[in-house]
Point group: C2
Chain length 367, copies 2
DNA sequence: CTGAAAGCGCTAACAC
DNA sequence: GTGTTAGCGCTTTCAG
């Protein structure tokens, strides 16, 4: 392992100058700088982040915690975060918690000391645990909000070793920086798209009852349905957020006689599609189908899946950006605390006018 | 941040004893041990890996480098590696190289100092680069082999700053520990399965021409085809290893008149399936379809995809195991250097006897 | 069995 | 501008 000492010896300066050359080049004469950099290059010197973190406080590494890296939603998010943090010279440690809150808590504590900040995606942690974590660590929530302190503005007394209550805790509003997706806009886009095609009887196949996303998404769908005249919403919920959940819901949802179905996410949508295809129900001829999140799996099926969501890589990038701003000590105004991404509906071949509707001929989108 | 000093103060011992209690409990009296552990627990002390790594040499962190975390193959692999390393008390840093060899090289160098060892999955690095890396770092290759030194036993002269040639370099054979999949067994399973169903004219849709996996897989398929009497193999190659590649190959491959098609991987298979479905070609009625790798996407389609592959999570676990063994200084015999996983063919609904064949009635597998 | 002390590689005051 | 020095939190001899 080549250290500052090696570089110093080779370039005939002290280790301090080596460090300075790398961290604050303008504080070093041009001549020495060149010599040092040459030595750095020749020796292939690579600063040891662990050591500099130990001394300087900053480690140059941030953490990303996801419940399930196998889920295309999170793997795309991770990809975006990875690219973005690399670009800015930060390392990224990815942790998969296998959907378990206790694993999440343990991992967060374990990596805590060696990272500058952490991004929690779809955290399974309780509000209280999150509040406590936020008091200790610089963190950013993704796809989750923490609006107010767990139990009243000054209920932090009971907290064991939470060093200090967050500065803005007394002010109502978002307490931890958050990046979310504008769920209402998404729901409006989905329902609006179907409405425009002529659908009036629309079903929503919801995810797990106690999921933060499902609660939010379901409410948004209900609100959006009100906005469009004549839309009749059939709501189901409690299905697993994967293809099996969709397969399971396939028969039931058709029972309600909808001409279009919106699924909790793309995986559920693919499950619905698979089961329907098996039974001879055709998409979009017999029923239109819309997924959520716009993951890459929407491109895998026939017909390709119309899906509404933000760009997931951008989502990851935004989270990194927000975290880095916090790390740099940005002000804590609303804009700095909360970022909401605008989802777009990507119309693919799984949506079309309902069979009976007199709608304009549709161009084949899936060619 | 709570440090050894805090724990020491609280339990009335020296910091050395705290450290000892944690690293070598048997070298501490039972009484002190209890006191220290109590303090550790009460204070929520968490050893700082960066610091202990700095001092002790070992950081307790290993790296995993993948070309594309979005690819289900690698996300499952990652999941396995993550679970396995957590279980053994190691941290895992995941790096996505976006398929770029230069990014891979840079990242490997960047994380090098702060990790104990590294797993390179489907590395895009050249043999020479790999050999050099292996000389410096403890590493394990996944889905890639490095059989002999780049250009003869003692051709390391030209290498710039490669400290020392690997110890076993003079001996022919695998130079870097490797975990791969028995590609021949996989190909035999695929062809055998189709042969048994009655297929004789079988096409293989290969991946990118210059990929290590494609070369290996293609050869294995050709060899396997020889093993079964009457099998007529049509080989294509050069398609992108994703659904678009499959869509693109769909028409061409059918031109050869096969009754069954084997795809380079599951994504390609789904692309084929999607395009065929669009065109009214039915699977498995008109043509049977087999994927490779057995990723979770094989479960997403209708019909579900017959696929051959090892358990990907286990693959990830095995890589971690092997790396940890190397780290612990295991002997360098063949078994310790190379692990080959046995793939299994998971028969799902995408394969059936060819239309004309007089084969026993098949039970509906996709119900 | 326990404590004191010497660093691991690095950065940030502080001198010169 | 550059060098000297004091640690960051931890492990590990080496004494006691």
């Amino acid at each position: 392992m080549v250290t500052v000492h090696d570089v110093a010896a080779r370039s005939g300066v002290s280790i301090a100058t080596v460090s300075r050359t790398l961290r604050a080049p303008h504080r070093v004469s041009e001549e020495t700088r060149d010599r040092v950099l040459a030595a750095v290059h020749e020796l292939g010197y690579q600063p040891n982040r662990a050591a500099s973190g130990l001394r300087g406080g900053r480690t140059g590494v941030i953490g990303l915690v996801v419940p399930d890296i196998e889920n295309p939603y999170f793997s795309s998010l991770t990809k975006g975060a990875q690219a973005s943090s690399r670009e800015r010279g930060y390392g990224l440690v990815v942790v998969d918690t296998a959907e378990q809150a206790d694993v999440e808590a343990a991992e967060v504590r374990a990596v805590g000391p060696q990272i500058d900040g952490i991004i929690l995606a779809s955290s399974r942690l309780s509000d209280a645990a999150l509040a406590q974590l936020a008091a200790t660590t610089t963190c950013v929530l993704v796809n989750r909000e923490l609006v107010s302190p767990p139990s009243g503005p000054d209920a932090f007394d009971g907290a064991p070793s939470a060093a200090s209550a967050p500065a803005g805790a007394a002010v109502p509003g978002i307490v931890v920086p958050t990046v979310t997706i504008d769920e209402r806009a998404g729901a409006r886009a989905a329902i609006g798209h179907l409405h425009e095609l002529g659908h009036r009887r629309i079903a929503y196949v919801g995810g797990p009852a106690r999921s933060w996303s499902q609660a939010r998404r379901s409410r948004a769908i209900r609100e959006a349905a009100q906005l469009f005249p004549g839309v009749d919403l059939i709501e189901l919920s409690g299905y697993a957020p994967d293809a099996d959940g969709g397969r399971e819901a396939a028969d039931t949802v058709l029972g309600g006689g909808p001409t279009a179905v919106i699924a909790y996410n793309d995986l559920v949508a693919l499950g619905l599609l698979a089961r329907w295809t098996e039974e001879g129900v055709r998409v979009p001829d017999d029923v239109s189908l819309v997924g959520f999140d716009n993951t890459y799996v929407a491109e895998l099926s026939f017909p390709r899946l119309t899906s509404v969501g933000a760009d997931l890589r951008e989502f990851g990038e935004t989270a990194v950006t927000l975290l880095l701003e916090r790390l740099a000590g940005a002000a804590l105004d609303e804009a700095a605390m909360h970022r909401e991404l605008e989802p777009r509906l990507i119309a693919r071949a799984s949506t079309a006018p309902p069979r009976a509707a007199a709608a304009p001929a549709r161009s084949r989108e899936d060619r």
